[in-house]
Amino acid sequence: MKHAEGFSKGLFRENPVAALLLGLCPAAAVTGRVIDALWMSAGFLAVLLLSSLCLSLLGALSPAAARDGGAGLSRGRWIGSLVITACLASCFDLLLRAFAPGASARLGIYAPLVAVNCIVLGRVELAAGGLSIGRSLRDAAGTGAGFAGALLLVSVVREALGAGTITLFPIGTFGGSLAVPLLAASPARAFVYATGGLLCLGYLAGASRLLSSERRRGESDRA
């Protein structure tokens, strides 16, 4: 029960994109097409899980003594953690380039930029706080799933409004692209550009706040 709670916290109440407003750059930049958002989420989840694992192992090897004067991480450890996340993100980029060249071309610089994503960098600080490996992995899975869910939601809205289609994988006779009736004829192009990403994220964050305040009010009514 407790495990499920730690996971669902990242998915809803502390959704990294909608509630905490972290990792906005990929969430705004690669959500113009659903398929790109899916690739990004998959890579992000993998990088986040693996970096949590590596960083907590590193933390277990060199315990909390590695802090300097309460000013955060020691320099050596900070650089080491950054290089670890950079190598993982680089692996994601290279694998994507090898096996999905089209997606890699569309994601462009955003695939390697997972290395310095706010959420991933947050793991560096968290791992320094001495979180156990199991708890760290559970948190990472919840956060990654929350990120993926938010990306999927934003990309479906943006692509449907901005291009009138929903692009997925081609499977068998299915060509990979669904046309949305009514919208396909005259889409609002601005939604697939930078503007649309920022607008959608802003309203998503607003909606998430509205929902959480409603829930809080419901809880206080019951009490």
Binding site: L21, L22, L24, C25, A28, A29, G72, R75, W78, I79, L82, V83, T85, A86, C87, A89, S90, D93, L94, I109, P112, L113, A115, V116, N117, C118, L121, A190, Y193, A194, T195, G196, G197, L198, L199, L201, G202, Y203, A205, G206, A207, R209, L210, S213
Partner: protein, 197 residues
């Protein structure tokens, strides 16, 4: 590309925040006071210029001749982190009080999507050493411009009556979207007209 072309491209057409959507976290939570904005902006600009130059050096002197392109990202991140530490110790030496008063950590400002993104964008263009430096500088100025705009908008919005759930960051993001719409006027056509080609 000409020098003017580089400046306009990296400061306006490919603006880090408003066109490439990098560095949204520092911009959406834009600091209120002008002094902090200036501090963050100057830190970022100096770092972008230095790291673009460092990336050029790494790329042409180390990675390309040895065919080590797959090590590009870890190398760039390492260079960026070392430069950030250098900048941090310099800032601590020059004015520790200002840094404490400003309330930001150089490390947090230095290593984020915006700085690494600029480095990657600059290396994609395959510029010369001086051109890379100039590109990094102009990208930093573009970042400072976006940061100032966002903070000014936020200050105005704070005085308005808005729905409670949209107050603060969500509304900042929505207004950033509208600013990005305005910035889409700076495109390739604008650049071609400006340079007379």
């Amino acid at each position: 590309m000409s020098w003017l072309g580089i400046i306009v491209t990296f400061a306006l057409v490919d603006n880090v925040v408003l066109a490439r959507l990098l560095g949204l976290c520092p911009c959406a939570g834009a600091p209120r006071t002008f002094r902090v904005i200036l501090g963050v902006g100057i830190c970022t600009t100096v770092l972008m210029a230095m790291s673009s130059l460092a990336a050029w050096a790494l790329e042409t002197l180390f990675l390309d001749p040895r065919d080590l392109g797959f090590l590009r990202i870890p190398c760039f991140v390492l260079a960026l982190a070392l430069l950030a530490l250098l900048l941090e110790s310099m800032a601590l030496r020059i004015s520790p009080a200002l840094l404490r008063a400003a309330g930001f950590s150089v490390r947090g400002v230095a290593v984020n999507c915006a700085t690494l993104g600029v480095v990657l964008l600059v290396t994609l263009e395959r510029l010369s050493a001086l051109e890379s430096l100039l590109a990094g500088l102009s990208a930093g100025c573009g970042f400072l411009l976006a940061l100032t705009l966002m903070s000014a908008i936020r200050e105005r919005l704070d005085a308005e009556r808005v729905p409670r759930s949209l107050r603060g960051l969500p509304l900042s993001l929505v207004s950033a979207g509208l600013v990005a719409l305005a910035f889409s006027a700076f495109d390739r056509v604008f650049l071609a007209n400006l340079l007379g080609r």
